[in-house]
């Protein structure tokens, strides 16, 4: 487990409608895959929908991406004011 800055929360914990900046992705393969998607470290997105026990749907520009629970735990974000 890599260390995480204190102002960061996992994507799992982001509330519906909140905007955030992706700061850290813990898995190397995932990091490269998300770089291609456009959800790299440093990119801004919004929590479009979240299921009670399940994926988080992130909206990034016009693109919606569903991210499974396991994965959301590895993505650390900084919530920003709307």
């Amino acid at each position: 487990m890599q260390s995480v800055q204190s102002n960061l929360i996992s994507l799992r914990a982001v509330k519906k409608g909140e905007r955030f900046i992706v700061r850290q992705i813990d898995d190397k393969d995932m990091r490269t895959q998300l770089l291609r998607f456009g959800l790299a470290e440093g990119s801004e997105a919004m929590c479009f929908e979240r299921l009670p026990f399940g994926p988080v749907v992130v909206k990034h520009r016009r693109q919606e991406v569903a991210i499974g629970e396991e994965l959301t735990k590895k993505i650390w974000v900084e919530v920003i004011a709307n």
Binding site: K28, D29, R31, T32, Q33, L35, R36, F37, G38, A40, S43, F48, E49, L51, P52, F53, G54, P55, V57, H60, R61, R62, Q63, E64, V65, A66, I67, G68, E69, E70, L71
Partner: protein
């Protein structure tokens, strides 16, 4: 190491072999590549609104090009099967046609820049211009083309706008403006390559750490992937902020589509929507088509018109006894037998009497051909109870065809509207319980169309582990459209309560199989990561075309098997083997499953094809409980021969035979338990 390389590098330019240039369609998933392919080649490959429709390479011809359709990819690399398949096609391209989604430049340009870095002669098709307008956005295409250094053509593929310009642009395909620093780093690698079609492209792959390509050239891969990707990502972001402009708010259409999409994901609204969709399918296919249409075609056209017509042809010269049931609705009001010991043509008087008797009446004619001579036996094989000419045609054309058309149409609508990836999201949590992620809902739903095709679609799953689990579920527990058709028809006879019971049984089996395979296999499954395309109104032309193509290929594939199946069972009948088989199975059928002994016949038929077996059950007179038991057995029964072949090809002989043999055991065990309980 060099001597160990078995895979030969794709060297000789394809032009030399065929005189035709290889034009490869490359792009992110779901951007419209297959639609372009269909336009250029005049062929039809599946076009659907979910990422991962295309999982195989298809080749066609267009002018002096060989056009290649590839699976959608987010970059040229080897992360999964789809990427590996696409990678080799891209690397051997003469010209690349990069299709990008105008509303998603930030995502799509990443691949575009990679292709440019690889120095392919290329053209960019900026597709979905209509959706861009709807989204209220604008792209400075000239500026984009200037930055990239390649021709860009605006296209709206669904309206066929822009294809003419695109065809012209293909003649001016150019190599774009690659990243200078990257090109510099490539030089030493290029110098070490073996002969290859696109040395720079191979070198980019090696620099990005692609093991397969490096091995082909006998050199070690570098580890610059992340560094290069970050630089590329930054360049994309710069370009996007320069050329994309928000012009106005989203149009009403786009807003509605977004809202609707949201409702389908959230379980509170999503579950009712799912139930509504299932109910609609049941009402239309199950009630309307299965009861009204099939009730008419199967009995009126098949049993009363077509079969007697064929049988009378044989009867002219074959000893036969025809017994006639006069019907009033469902009820038999009179029965009379006519014997023709030398065939109907030799006994004019008797035949005239027969004709006068049936004149103007609603009758069902039952033919019993004498089996004393060899000829009589042959006639029975072709036109008897299970006659290859009679039963095959009735089952296929009058029973299955209308139902299969209905199912395929609904599937095509589901595939086209963008619902499937959202359903995948909603059910993700449930699927993780059986070692899959939500994405697996796509092959499983397609399995209700055709298990054989769906087994191929399991390729869109990430790991081999998930593919095995999904393939097992498909081949154990998912009835294909034709089978489902008969099941629905039988269930409507059994009633609503028993329909639910049956549903519950099959669902439990599905979960049980998933759980067991998940427990047995080592390793861990991957988490969901899926693009959600916008919800769109299904296009009538695409839905009809797809229904037609799928139905046609179902008929083409099923006909020979049904014919063989009918031959097999008829031969067994005239040789007495069938009776032996029925006897042999009696302990299982009558005691263990509490079914009539003749149901053993359906299992012979089911080995050839499950839908054929299900159709065999349709002819028996079963109580509602027996319907549930027999349908459970036939649903869980062995995959059809065609599926088995694909299963062997996709998952290997060991896995395939395990599934096949396991099905016997599983089907009869579960069937017996159900018989005990209900």
């Amino acid at each position: 190491m060099q001597t160990l390389i078995i895979e030969s590098e794709p060297l000789s330019p394809s032009v030399e072999k065929t005189g035709k240039k290889k034009l490869v369609l490359v792009g992110n998933p779901n951007v419209g590549k297959s639609l372009f392919f269909n336009h250029f080649s005049g062929l039809y490959v599946d076009v659907s609104n979910f990422p991962g429709t295309t999982v195989e390479i298809t080749e066609g011809n267009y002018k002096n090009f060989r056009v290649i359709d590839t699976p959608g990819i987010y970059g040229v690399s080897s992360f999964n099967d789809e990427e590996r398949v696409a990678r080799d096609e891209v690397l051997s391209a003469d010209i690349v046609l990069n299709v990008i989604d105008a509303t998603n430049l930030e995502r799509d340009l990443f691949l575009t820049l990679q292709l440019i870095d690889m120095q392919f002669p290329m053209v960019v098709a900026l597709n979905m211009m209509d959706a861009l307008e709807e989204a209220g956005m604008e792209i400075d295409v000239e500026r984009l083309s200037e930055i990239l250094g390649v021709p860009i053509v605006k296209v709206t593929a669904i309206k066929k706008h822009g294809f003419d310009e695109l065809e012209k642009a293909l003649e001016n395909a150019t190599v774009g403006n690659a990243d200078k620093t990257l090109l510099h780093e490539l030089e030493p690698i290029v110098a070490r390559l073996k002969q290859t079609l696109n040395p720079i492209a191979d070198a980019v792959m090696i620099l990005e750490g692609d093991e397969t390509v490096a091995e082909r050239h006998g050199i070690a891969p570098e580890d610059k992937r992340e560094e290069i990707y970050v630089a590329r990502r930054n360049r994309v972001n710069e370009i996007v902020s320069e050329v994309v402009r928000e012009k106005s708010a989203m149009k009403v259409g786009a807003v509605i589509s977004e809202k609707l999409g949201k409702w389908t994901i959230n379980p509170i609204s999503g579950i009712p929507i799912l139930i509504l969709a299932l109910w609609l399918i049941y009402e239309v296919v199950g009630v309307m088509v299965a009861q009204r249409v099939v009730g008419h075609t199967e009995v009126e056209l098949g049993n009363k018109l077509f079969e007697p017509f064929v049988k009378h042809l044989f009867a002219t010269i074959t000893p036969v006894e025809i017994s006639v049931d006069v019907l009033n609705g469902e009820e038999v009001i009179e029965t009379k037998s006519f014997a023709f010991p030398e065939g109907t043509s030799r006994d004019k008087a008797q035949f005239d009497e027969f004709k006068a008797f049936i004149e103007g009446k609603d009758v069902m004619q039952n033919f019993a051909f004498s089996q004393e001579t060899l000829w009589g036996k042959i006639v029975t094989i072709f036109a008897g109870e299970f006659g290859a000419f009679t039963m095959t045609v009735t089952y296929l054309a009058f029973l299955l065809l209308p139902l299969v058309i209905g199912f395929y149409m609904f599937l095509a609508i589901l595939e086209d509207c963008g619902y499937l990836p959202r359903l995948a999201t909603m059910v993700d949590r449930l699927f993780t319980g059986i070692g899959l992620n939500g994405r697996a809902v796509i092959p499983i739903i397609l399995g209700f169309g055709c298990v054989t095709m769906a087994t191929v679609t399991t390729r869109l799953l990430q790991t081999s582990r998930e593919k095995t689990i999904a393939a097992s579920i498909l081949n154990f527990a998912i009835p294909c459209s034709a089978q489902l058709a008969v099941i629905t028809a039988l269930l409507t006879k059994a009633g609503g309560f028993y329909t639910l019971v049956f549903f519950f049984i099959i669902l439990s089996c599905l979960v049980a199989i998933g759980t067991i395979v998940d427990k047995i296999l080592p390793g861990k499954s991957s988490a969901l990561l899926i693009d959600l395309p916008p919800m769109r109104l299904p296009r009538a032309s695409n839905v009809l075309k797809k229904t037609w193509i799928k139905t046609k290929s179902f008929m083409q594939e099923a006909t020979p098997w049904f014919f063989i199946g009918a031959l097999l069972i008829s031969v067994m009948q005239v040789t007495g083997l069938l009776e032996g088989w029925v006897k042999l199975f009696e302990p299982i059928t009558t005691h263990w499953l509490q079914l009539p002994a003749e149901s053993a016949r359906a299992f012979v038929m089911g080995m050839v094809r499950r839908d054929f077996g299900a159709a065999g059950l349709y002819e028996l007179n079963l109580t509602p409980q027996q319907i549930v038991v027999s349908l459970t057995v036939i649903t869980l029964f062995v995959p059809c021969i065609a599926s088995l072949m694909v299963l062997i090809k996709e998952r290997g002989i060991r896995e395939a035979m395990t599934i096949w043999a396991g099905s016997w055991l599983f089907a009869f065990s579960v069937g017996g338990i159900v018989a005990l309980i209900i």
